[in-house]
């Protein structure tokens, strides 16, 4: 009896040890934010990766977008962080990104399909690092409530219409149908630069110093301020909060309160899901300014981080996710504009999209080809978010009448110079 008990105990201990041995040896953590269903889709893909790679377990930590911008940089600066993260401020976080070139199977595939965007993730001067891949390429552009135009009996501006044409038409519609927001821009420096680039903003360097405020910038800033004064834009978005706070108008658009909404391609999936057949909405090409008809590119990348203790496994995971087949499924199911050159050329079959979402994605896809090189350069500049934040913070003050445009220009230049100087300080 005693012997039997001993044997049973040993068998139990061995089975526990065996089970532990069969479990994953490496756990990778991804810090991830979602605008729509991309977290759900990514989880599906990760489970498939785990089935093929029994030695790796991947945990997707879903956090608010604010945590990506505010918490992650502090974690990385302290040397503690996840293995991977989905980020948008690629230039700002470039010093913390891990180069996985030596851990991917085919670096040429990465260069050919993600090459132009890899440059956004590299520290200045580096031309070879492969820190991650684009989970989504975004492009700014307007959504229009077509039903409101029809109800108001106002003709929609045609191709190559200017910003002023759309503002005039949107105001006419809003006045007739009593919509509170004729034109709405997300309270975001990135969205403001969608307008500014078309007005000729360059954000160029002169004498080693970044010049955020130029003639194009001033034209765009004046348009925004004038639109607020004339009621084309409501102060509820740009004026209602302070500093660098982001404020989107997607909820207002979904509630049919906005006639013309300048946002971007990433909103397509949620509009498709939530608006349904409540009203007709369309995406239209970015209006033209004196310089061009370009919006701003952007996007989110899933990147490897230097805080990871498992670079080989991280490389294996990214190789899997960035592969053509898996990336294609991800873009198709999330209704994202592909950040993969090969797939962009072939085109993504958005089988789950409604006809109006598919049409919107087509508009945004076409817009990618029309993006001005200046827009790409601005997006890739490591100081772009400094400029975006300074612009939105100070223009917000002008909108509510706290300061003048001229004072705001001086403050923007000073804020940008001060932050860049602070960043350059080293021990």
């Amino acid at each position: 009896m005693k012997k039997a008990a001993w044997m049973a105990g040993c068998a139990l201990a061995l089975s526990i040890l065996g089970a532990a041995g069969a479990q994953a040896e490496t756990t990778l953590r991804i810090m991830w934010y979602s605008d729509g269903n991309e977290g759900e889709v990514m989880n599906d893909l990760l489970r498939r990766f785990e089935e093929k790679n029994k030695d790796v377990k991947v945990v997707l930590d879903q956090v608010p977008f604010k945590a990506i911008n505010e918490t992650l940089p502090v974690q990385l600066a302290s040397g503690k962080g996840p293995d991977l993260a989905r980020i948008t401020d690629m230039g700002g976080l470039a010093p913390y990104l891990l180069d996985i070139r030596s851990h991917v199977k085919d670096a040429v595939y990465w260069e050919q399909n993600y090459g132009p965007f890899l440059q956004w993730m590299r520290v200045p001067g580096n031309t070879s690092a492969i820190p991650g891949y684009m989970t989504q390429l975004t492009v700014t552009g307007p959504f229009v409530n077509k039903t409101l135009f029809e109800q108001a009996g106002v003709a929609m501006p045609g191709a190559n219409a200017t910003w002023e044409d759309w503002a005039k038409a949107a105001k006419a519609v809003a006045d007739k149908v009593q919509a509170p927001f004729p034109v709405a821009f997300d309270r975001s420096g990135h969205r403001f630069f969608g307008l500014a680039v078309s007005q000729g903003a360059q954000m160029a360097e002169a004498g080693g110093e970044l010049k955020p405020v130029d003639d194009g910038f001033k034209r765009a800033a004046k348009l925004v301020v004038d639109w607020h004064k004339s009621g084309v834009m409501s102060k509820e978005l740009w004026g209602a909060v302070s500093g660098t706070a982001y404020r989107g108008a997607n909820e207002e658009f979904k509630n049919a309160q906005v006639v013309f909404y300048e946002s971007g391609s990433w909103q397509t999936a949620q509009f498709d899901k939530t608006i349904g057949d409540a009203f007709d909405w369309i995406a239209v090409p970015t209006p033209c300014g004196p310089a061009n008809c370009s919006g701003m590119p952007g996007g989110a990348a899933l990147v490897a981080l230097k805080t990871s203790s498992h670079p080989a496994e991280v490389g294996r995971l990214l190789d899997y996710l960035a592969s053509e087949e898996v990336a294609n499924e991800f873009y198709a199911r999330t209704l994202f504009v592909p950040g993969h050159i090969g797939l962009a050329r072939k085109g993504i079959a958005y089988t789950s999209a409604s006809p109006q979402a598919a049409a919107a994605l087509k508009v945004f896809g076409d817009a990618v080809g029309k993006l001005d090189p200046v827009a790409y350069r601005i997006q890739g500049d490591p100081s772009s978010r400094i400029v975006f934040n300074a612009a939105i913070s100070r223009l917000g003050q002008v909108v509510v009448g706290e300061t003048s445009l001229d004072d705001a220009y001086q403050r923007i230049s000073a804020d940008v110079a001060q932050q860049i100087a602070e960043r350059r300080k080293k021990q």
């Binding site: 911008n69 505010e70 940089p73 502090v74 600066a77 302290s78 401020d89 700002g92 509170p180 409501s234 102060k235 509820e236 004026g239 209602a240 909060v241 302070s242 500093g243 660098t244 706070a245 404020r247 509630n255 100081s383 978010r385 400094i386 934040n389 917000g396 003050q397 909108v399 509510v400 009448g401 706290e402 300061t403 004072d407 403050r411 932050q419 860049i420 602070e422 960043r423 300080k425 080293k426 021990q427």
Partner: protein, 343 residues
Amino acid sequence: MTDTMRSHGEAARGPSAAVAAVTTGSANTLMRLTDPPMRAVQRLIGAARMPYVFLLPNLVFFGLFVFLPIGINIVFSVTGGTALFPGERPYAGAEHYARLLDCGSYLDAASCREDLFWRGVGNTLTFTVLQMVAMVLFSLVTALVLNRPIRGRGFFRAVYFFPVLLSPVVVALIWKWILQRDGLLNAVLTTAGGEKILFFVDPGWAMFWAVFVSVWAHMGFYTLILLAGLQAIPRDVYEAAEMDGTRPWRVFHRITLPLLWPNLLVVLVLVLIRSVQVFDEVFVLTGGGPGTATLMVVQYIYTTAFANQVQNFGLAGAASVLLGAVLFVLTLIQLFLTRRRAS
């Protein structure tokens, strides 16, 4: 006494007696365990120094979580760059303080190099003055009413205290939903034939609601302090005044207010300190807007340290030290007033 009666008696003493027995037993065991080492320590350092041994756990706790962060903050305030570890940060001396204090006129934020800091200072001062007046006034009136023998007094005390239990973020979110464009208040206004008011776009309304919500959320706590003070005033003083035919206002002015003064002082100082530190409620409710109309000093510190791409811990640290100095002075004033009153 029969066995049956004895067992009934024990049952009647019930679980409370059992709990007391267990507690006493545990305490005795603990004392037996700690007694020998404490005696050894006492032999080693002497009885006169024993209080410090008892204070040590709290001192360690305060040292780690209060004094050490204060020290680190001061180090950050005199260093620059974006590195997180103090050892990796270049020394900057008083640069951040000079930047914060560089003003053409302290009464005009626009003339200051770090104008947002001074806008925050101005807004915090406005908020503090308005909040102190409103909080003390409403808490006092509520306490006076709740001190009277009214029907449902216990219920009303609970009602006024309930918001204190809520998280400031929850409070701000509830009021945000009430006050927004399509919120409850505007629905009531339009139903009554009025126009919608965009409360968060008008600087005056935004500050009003920031103060109102803060008073609504915390008034219950201060009301309780004042109520305790009111109930501690001897009844015979009021009875004597009544027999003399003293008018109610005179009773309030000459009896209630002077005898309530110690509690009022505590309330005043607590409200003052809390107002200077205000952040969460106002940040969630108004986001510091419109423009910078409700941007408070603590929000400025948070934004400078965390919300910008270049996280300027040095400048934020210097602003924190200045804010800490103001709070330190306020605390000294409180101590001075309390001691003077006691003496």
